[in-house]
Symmetry: C2
Subunit: 494 residues, 2 copies
């Protein structure tokens, strides 16, 4: 007995943000990435609702102008509705910079120097109150909107920003079907205990309010299971990937996300991308090209990547002048001291290597720090080696975008600690991101790889990415929820 469902997505950042155009009219600008594509597609089909925090004055203005604060996106070419939450700036700062990015991101990516940091104090507890408040606000609006939908509401709650929402929503609307998806890694139990108890327990119990918890990789799912196991009254069954809590069952599932191949390929054929491709090609001359595309993010391991390249050039000097390393880095979280410091370290390390190994007609590293999606799309077509060596990464979409657009049978050097490794590892040259020697060897292996082998791997990568379109990622979650609903119904009637 199927009934109609209404899909409601919740995420910190919305699928579009509104900015005034040249005429002062509010225009919706779409975010990039497979997540938005996948979820927009699902909402489109279900004529669903997306709930997000307002990011700009344009967002707030669009919300004010909409009846009941709900923006009908049909006016912007998509059949779903959008509701922005207007959160006071200082509360948002505590929730977003203080906890989400300043604490939870660090925990899940193992980014602390535990001998010295973190040191939690009163300001962190105040920021935690903000985090709780914003999550509560989301839960209230989700419950309220759920009651207004034509069908039974099905919630897709996104990421670590909203980890408390499932439990809060469950309390407000106990019969809800709730999925929560984590796009980050999940710290194992020992590391997660770095968090103050109120955060550690709050986070885990918050997520356990869901019917289904989704992760990009089995490793993250297992880390969550093991962490939950330490909470009183929680039974985590590792073999069946299932958790019993408060008389309910929580499914723990792995759904690796992928990229939107069609949109990506379209963007690569646009005039801007073509022009940039010609520029990069001219500049590289007949050198081989190693590429990295990353946010300037602590977890991306940019400095060790340069050091591995340096070691490679010192070990095999015959490659000097015949290869170039193009690093396209977009600024990220520059509000946080640690990110500014890391950005400077990346630049300084590239400069040092260029100074020590460069020659009048050749510079080993070409580093660009700016938001430059078009440049990245252009460069993807041209690399011989794509270096994706994060310390740890929930998934990593660069490892998928590159192979999809590359035209030179380029080789993917991929960290074993990226969620993407589970899917793509067998066609990549695997590296331990802490092992400079292994990464240097991987660059040499990749550059020396015979054409046939490169073709085989490049085809394999692009086939794997295409085989897992973003719709499947959402579809899998909706199926999980449907299964949860059936199990719940049969438990109630038996």
């Amino acid at each position: 007995m199927n009934e109609r469902v209404s899909v409601i997505v919740a995420s910190n950042r919305g699928p579009v943000t509104f900015e005034p155009d040249a005429n002062g009219e509010l225009e919706a600008r779409r975010g990039a990435g497979g997540l938005v594509t996948a979820l927009t597609g699902a909402l489109h089909e279900a004529e669903g609702l997306w709930v997000s925090a307002a990011m700009s004055d344009g967002d707030r203005a669009a919300a004010r102008a909409a009846p009941g604060g709900v923006i009908d996106m049909r006016a912007h070419g998509a059949a779903y509705r959008l509701r922005f939450l207007d959160i006071p700036a200082d509360t948002y700062d505590g929730y977003y910079n203080g906890i989400s990015n300043g604490v939870l991101w660090f925990a899940h990516h193992y980014l602390w120097d535990a001998v010295r940091a973190p040191s939690f104090g009163e300001s962190d507890l105040r920021a935690w109150d903000d985090y709780v408040a914003v999550n509560q606000r989301f839960a209230e609006v989700l419950a309220e909107e759920g009651g207004r939908q034509p069908g039974r509401p099905v919630y897709l709650v996104q990421d670590y920003h909203l980890a408390l929402v499932p439990r809060m929503l469950r309390e407000l609307a106990p019969e809800s079907l709730i999925a929560h998806f984590s796009h980050t890694p999940i710290a194992g139990p020992t590391y997660l205990r770095i968090l103050p108890t109120v955060m550690h327990d709050g986070l885990l119990r918050g997520m356990l309010g869901a019917d289904v918890l989704g992760f990009h990789s089995q490793t993250w799912a297992e880390n969550f299971l093991m962490s939950s196991r330490s909470l009183p009254g929680v039974r985590a069954d590792l073999a069946r990937s299932r958790i019993g809590v408060d008389g309910r069952q929580v499914l723990v599932r792995t759904h690796p996300i992928s990229v939107d191949a069609r949109a990506l390929r379209e963007s690569a054929t646009e005039p801007g991308a073509r022009r940039r491709r010609r520029e990069i090609n001219r500049r590289r001359g007949n050198q081989r090209l190693i590429l990295r595309v990353d946010r300037l993010e602590l977890s991306k391991n940019i400095v060790r990547g340069f050091q591995a390249y340096e070691l490679f050039l010192r070990r095999v000097p015959s490659w000097r002048g015949r290869v170039s390393f193009l690093a396209l880095l977009s600024p990220s979280r520059m509000e946080l001291d640690a990110y500014r410091a890391y950005a400077e370290e990346c630049l300084a390390e590239a400069e040092r290597i260029n100074r020590e190994l460069g020659e009048p007609a050749w510079s080993p590293i070409d580093i660009h720090v700016q938001d430059d999606y078009v440049g990245a799309v252009a460069a993807y077509g041209l690399y011989d080696v794509l270096m994706v060596n994060p310390v740890i990464d929930g998934m990593n979409l660069v490892a998928m975008e590159g192979p999809l657009l590359n035209r030179r049978h380029g080789v993917l050097v991929l960290s074993r600690n990226a969620g993407a490794f589970g899917r793509l590892g067998r066609y990549a040259v695997p590296v331990n991101p802490f092992d400079i020697g292994e990464m240097a060897t991987a660059l040499e292996t990749a550059l020396d790889m015979p054409l046939g082998e490169r073709q085989r791997r490049a085809r394999g990568l692009s086939r794997l990415v295409l085989a897992n379109p973003p719709e499947r990622w959402v579809g899998g979650q909706l199926e999980d929820l449907e299964r949860a609903r059936r199990r719940r119904t049969s438990a109630q009637t038996s």
Copy 2:
């Protein structure tokens, strides 16, 4: 059908070290701690053998003077034999400073700043070769000595220095009964993967050569089970705490070690300790005393401990001048840069706090950096609060020694991340070692605690420590091995 067993212990450092006395005669000096007591007791009963690396010229001289290189300890008042391995200094350096303390200790204690360190390179791989060579040497001597024993040899291999020995010994003497015990924490699977693959897999498979793996806490045992689970061909059963590998079963067991109460109490009554106790008492006047006793070790969390005390004094200024913090710190691993830097940070932080909060007649922190076991034993008698706040700790014996010798119903402030917390936590004031605010509150709670409550807790702690004498720790391991033997025999005959 029991047969006679011969116990053979292997550890990096021996139970005694030989130094020439005033007459130039070699004298055996015993190491301190429950481990030596427990194992010496077991060997004494079984007239067993202890195999260790020679630490001094005295050790080498004693070995040369002994027939077959095996020292009969009856000449030194103990009925066991001792064999020292003479390892070349540079090999020992790679094995001990390079890998054991420079890599494995950091991994198991989560001490890296993963954004920047470690960066593995060729020198680490050379050090790994040394580590393999020393482990191989141990395994060969153990196999050789095992063949010479009157009974069936039973091996008790100690700690992370000798993680490869079980597998190597199993290859040389497949029927051996081998236990390995880890005195450190064990990193969870995500963190352990920081190690280069050759080390990561080598370490896990090395330990899996044992019949029984022992840990101080359930958390470390589970981390090992989860890490092993990732290896091809290994089946880890978390619920039964058992691992299947190479057609064998490996038991994973928890045996928390304790301290030797009698020896400790004796040392507290010696004249030197009495004198020091009087000195400390005079100095404290009518102030309350917070004590910490630690190696100057990255994992001990000394800086955050001072900062928590500072926060407490700022929050509750009425305590200024009425309390003093005595920090007895013994230098440790000063060959490693990271340890020297940390020692300086500890001193600088204490100085800063004394400068900012001190008054002409009162200094908040009294810090001593020296090897001073007698001073520690004396101070244990006198504390009102014992601060044991490691970032992470395999067990932590200070948390046991203190309550056993304290005479003031002192309160134990204990990190939830110490292995000892599993046994003692319910009588301690628990703290998250990363949470300055919680640690400051814990100090206040401990100092304000009513006498009756302090008495109840102090009695509880001392009862728990006494209830678990070191003999039981060894006994449990020997029982595990006997169980493994029976299971193996019945598997062979069935």
